[in-house]
């Protein structure tokens, strides 16, 4: 029995190790300065890169963060402060439902309300779709982190003559901040690799684009386009793009762990 669980534990790490190893072998050789700064090559040409897709992903994630972080943190604060109110229970339930929605459904919905009325795909629609996905992730981690703050701290601030909202922001939210930052980073890492919601919203773009109301490239979309193409050079770029994407997600995860550690380190005693 013990041997079986050991085996299962090893098995749990194997997929990641295989994927990482394969990506390193296939993609590492194509990663160079050009990869980060140039557009994709014409079919049949060598060289080129995914600079526009990297910028596109940054733009879309920035829009998603601008929507998902304030709404997610704000609603998480509300859920923690009004824990047992009927509205809080409803919001919490709906956030869990939203969290469980397949991401392609969020994409279709964003297409219906943000793309079809204006008649074209846009970076903004992609960012909003991913922002909607971020909200429940950030909201629930924010709520959990705030509930970890001892009631005694809140009372100490109230007893000093702090108003309720000032207590929430300056003491409770501030104390929970490292955990909230961790949750935000995990949410960003999670949505940065999303592909399905972007298919009908950001759509992808072979060229540089910095305008929010135009289609924009994104790493996952570009990987998909290159991977299903018949050209070997494009395949190599797709592998390299996958390696960069996984590297970015990995880096964000490490940052999240560092943020968590600094919180544990500073709690004293």
């Amino acid at each position: 029995m013990v041997a079986l669980t050991y085996g299962a534990a090893v098995g749990a790490t194997l997929p990641l190790l295989f994927i990482l190893g394969h990506l390193l072998v296939q993609g590492a050789t194509s990663i160079n300065v050009d990869f980060f700064t140039r557009l994709g090559p014409n079919p049949g040409e060598a060289g080129g890169g995914m600079g526009n897709a990297i910028v596109g992903t940054l733009v879309i994630v920035a829009i998603a963060g601008a929507i998902g972080l304030p709404i997610g943190i704000g609603s998480g604060l509300y859920l923690a402060e009004r824990r047992d109110s009927r509205l809080a229970n409803l919001v919490r339930f709906l956030a869990d439902v939203l969290n469980g929605l397949p991401s392609i459904i969020i994409g279709i919905f964003a297409w219906q309300v943000l793309v079809r009325p204006v008649g074209h795909f846009s970076a903004l629609a992609g960012g909003i779709a991913l922002g909607a996905m971020m909200i429940p992730l950030v909201s629930r981690t924010t709520e959990e982190m705030i509930l970890l703050v001892p009631v005694a701290l809140r009372e100490a601030a109230l007893a000093l003559g702090y108003t309720r909202w000032r207590t929430s922001l300056a003491i409770v939210l501030r104390t929970a901040l490292p955990g909230i930052v961790t949750g935000a980073l995990v949410a960003i890492a999670r949505i940065a690799g999303e592909t399905a919601p972007l298919l009908f919203t950001a759509f992808g773009n072979q060229f540089w684009s910095f305008t929010l109301d135009q289609p924009i490239a994104a790493l996952p979309l570009q990987i998909y386009v290159y991977a299903i193409s018949p050209y070997d050079d494009w395949h190599r770029l797709a592998w390299a793009g996958a390696l960069v994407l996984i590297g970015v997600v990995f880096a964000i995860s490490l940052a999240a762990r560092a943020a968590t550690r600094s919180r544990l380190g500073s709690s004293g005693d």
Partner: protein, 250 residues
């Protein structure tokens, strides 16, 4: 400060029953009684903290400088700014330095935050009065959570008195401290007499006898008797007080 016919409830639970208690200005008043007798709840009614708990409710009057703090139109926030409170367990704000913890109440002062130099002076004075200055003067900018439990509690007292409140409420302030730290806090309470009106809730009768001028004994939500401390411990008027202080229950 005095209370008149004060009742406090948690939902249907009647935790404080018709308490009328006079607190002499500049005196230390100890409130003693067995666990669950309502002494902490009474204390929390004095700075309108009781009502911050869901379903909690207060009836009756509490007068501070002749005005009822429960009168219509009185802002509980303003009341709490005039009355300091220290809790059973130390509650330093973990994200703030030692200095910023002591200055935390000044940030919400009625007439605005004083200038930086003035804040530094106030912080030093408060830490001196809390007998903590010599121990922390070289680490004012480090995190308050690095202090020992006893130091943290004295820091909380410094934080509470930095705003020069009229009254200081102490809710079993030494319950989580070792004997040496307890002694320091008790000395501190004794030092603060005359400058500030102190109410200390304690389940430790020796502590009440050591630090207070007046002692009030509570049982099942009621104030049984309040008397000069020496008189209460040597010649209690009520049988129940006598039974409690001689250790027959509680």
């Amino acid at each position: 400060m005095r209370t008149r016919d004060l009742d406090a409830y948690f939902g249907a639970t009647h935790a404080v029953r018709g308490v009328s208690l006079d607190l002499v200005d500049g005196d230390v008043t100890a409130v003693i009684g067995p666990s669950g007798c309502g002494k902490s709840t009474l204390l929390r009614c004095l700075n309108r903290m009781h009502e911050t708990v869901p379903n909690a409710r207060v009836e009756g009057e509490v007068h501070l400088d002749g005005r009822d703090i429960y009168a219509r139109g009185v802002n509980p926030i303003a009341v709490r700014r005039r009355i300091g409170m220290v809790f059973q367990r130390p509650t330093p704000f973990p994200t703030m330095s030692v200095r910023d913890n002591v200055a935390a109440g000044l940030k919400v002062a009625e007439d605005g935050m004083p200038g930086r130099a003035a804040v530094n002076d106030i912080v030093e004075a408060a830490l001196q009065r809390a007998a903590l200055w010599d121990e922390v003067k070289d680490r004012l900018t480090s995190s308050a959570t690095a202090l020992s439990g006893g130091q943290q509690q004295r820091l909380c007292i410094a934080r509470a008195i930095a705003t020069r409140p009229a009254v200081l409420l102490l809710d079993e302030p030494t319950a989580s401290l070792d004997p040496l730290s307890t002694q320091k806090v008790e000395e501190l309470v004794y030092e603060l007499r005359r400058e500030i009106t102190v109410v200390i809730v304690t389940h430790n009768m020796q502590q009440a006898a050591r630090v207070s001028d007046t002692t009030a004994f509570m049982l099942m939500g009621e104030l049984i008797e309040a008397a000069p401390t020496r008189a209460l411990f040597t010649s209690p008027r009520d049988q129940r007080t006598e039974a409690y202080i001689t250790g027959r229950f509680g």
